[in-house]
Symmetry: C2
DNA sequence: GTGAAAGCGCTAACAT
DNA sequence: ATGTTAGCGCTTTCAC
């Protein structure tokens, strides 16, 4: 052990710890550092944690690791936390609604220093709320209605605005919306944004132009789009609340014998990989997911450091990837 | 603390630990359990780890978390480890070739009980090799040439066989291969498998029918396919070493004015999400990635438990998802 | 500026 | 079947 090699006992501890090294004579510091290097000594994080009550680890709870959306978030989170010496514990809450809570408890039990939740929903469970008393916590890609927990989310209002304005500028006047489930914060938020933007661009904000899909998947998207198009056969464009819903719209439009991007333009949301390879490639609002992860981790670090972070949400600006699923409306005979 | 609430001191420890509870009087066990529940007591994993030298955590090192391929692997790994009380530490080695090594060292420093590596390459770094002395280690989705570390990998020979036989059965006789880079184990392996299967099905195993793509991406796939098709304009089918390469072939075939699935059939490999939504949908060899994660974790657990696991590779059988990018060869004028 | 000693919360001998 | 004791490897008062 470094202590034997270099000099004496706990001076080594002080020397090796940046925040106490200044107490120690520079020469001694150097000697200790040298010895540590030579012996390949590494402080044992468990022993340290036991003493300092910090594990230098944070838990990240993801609703479904298999969803490509979360890769960039995890990467972003990891990149900043690793920099500060933290490890990232992944929890995959794919076993139903209560699974996330049980993961939160696991993480608490492990005494993580912080928690990042990406699980959906507009309210947070009691478990999570209680957890907030014990550890620093931040939400990513979702928020709570009362904004009581800091959240990093995409600016859905701006994103939907990008899509609606793009369509409006192309000349569309009859635009519909295939919405996500209302109990998910993005489902509700994007729907509201759609209606708001319709007014803004001078079109009628009719709730009847919205059809809610049961879930963010292709199949429900098709169903919803068919319902929407049967109510409003004259629609020339659909803003989908999600890429998969957008792809679902493809099927609906095709089954009606219409051409995507000509008879009916479609926009997606999120911009997942491979969208540019679809036929036609899907115009989509791109959300900066990696950035989201980075910001969430940064916020968490600030929280852990005791800086006071205002709760409430931080909005990240999306961009629009314009592809071939959108075009000017076809002239109507 | 439970000790005060219930009875006396370290009896509680024994009572709470399943593997020592039998020593304690059942009544006492119950009393302790009760008290623990009431006080919301949770054993501190750090203190325990300090004593037992086990952290109940394992590190998983992924070359790129953003690649959708690894989601299922992580999910599989996590699902079995969580069951046994382990936590999963994720390392994202996306910062170049040496990043993985530095992550391995981080993990070692944290005293993980085991390590799962998914980083590519046909040999393992010295760091990793040394790490194997300190902790249990298993490879997933890659192996080492000398099989000195247990590895769970897809059976590429069988997978390519699925593709080649499928095409052969459709009636194809002139089949080419767009290969992955040779320095990656899958690139080399699938190429060899392709040549072997060509002989097996009674076709000529000509190395000239293989074109190596620079990297597993769409663009290089197009380039390679164009080179291949200019050498062999009469090819009626292409086996791609990877889905993205397969999609790259789409572009090449189209740019030649030919129809995919009619003039030229194409198969992919891996079966990533959304492939079924491509136009035409891509026939692909499906690798059981989640299962891979599950098996890797199970093997690791066995290793940790001290059971002797034979090193060498475990091959997981792929299946074939037949879609519309493959069909009988068109009659030639 | 450095040493000595206590103790973080647990588990594992060793008593009883 | 339960209580006692020591100590995992570190940080942190408290002396010197």
């Amino acid at each position: 052990m470094a202590r034997e090699a270099g000099v004496h006992i706990s001076t080594a501890s002080r020397a090796l710890n940046p925040s106490t090294a200044f107490i120690v004579h520079p020469v001694t510091v150097e000697r200790v550092a040298e010895a540590a290097r030579k012996l390949g000594y590494r402080p044992h994080p468990l022993a340290r944690g036991l003493r300092t009550n910090r594990t230098m680890s944070v838990g990240v709870i993801i609703p479904d690791v298999e969803n490509p959306l979360f890769g960039p978030i995890i990467a972003g989170v990891e990149s900043v936390l690793v920099e500060d010496g933290y490890s990232v514990l992944i929890g995959n809450a794919d076993r139903g609604p209560n699974h996330a809570d049980s993961l939160v408890e696991d993480m608490l039990e492990r005494h993580v220093d912080g928690l990042i939740l990406a699980t959906p929903g507009r309210v947070v469970s009691d478990t999570a709320r209680q957890a907030q008393r014990d550890v620093s916590m931040v939400l990513v890609n979702r928020s709570v209605d009362d904004d009581s927990i800091p959240a990093i989310v995409g600016d859905d209002h701006a994103g939907i605005g990008l899509a609606v304005r793009h369509l409006r500028e192309l000349g569309h006047e009859r635009i519909g919306h295939v919405a996500g489930p209302e109990w998910v914060s993005t489902g509700r938020g994007r729907r509201d944004a759609f209606l708001a933007w319709m007014s803004t661009v001078g079109l009628e904000a009719d709730i009847d132009l919205v059809e809610e899909a049961e879930w963010y998947q292709v199949e429900p998207g098709t169903t919803a789009a068919l319902a929407l198009l049967s109510r409003h056969p004259d629609l020339t464009a659909i803003v989908a609340a999600n890429d998969l819903l957008g792809l679902g719209c493809y099927r609906a439009v095709r089954s009606l014998g219409k051409v995507i991007g000509v008879d009916v333009s479609i926009t997606g949301y999120n911009d997942m990989p491979l969208l540019d390879l679809m036929q036609p490639s899907l115009t989509a609002v791109r959300v900066p997911y990696r950035r989201m992860g980075v910001d969430a981790a940064t916020t968490l670090l600030a929280l852990i450091a005791g800086e006071d972070v205002s709760p409430g949400r931080v909005l990240l600006s999306p961009t629009l990837a314009i592809r071939s699923s959108t075009g000017p409306p076809a002239d109507r005979g």
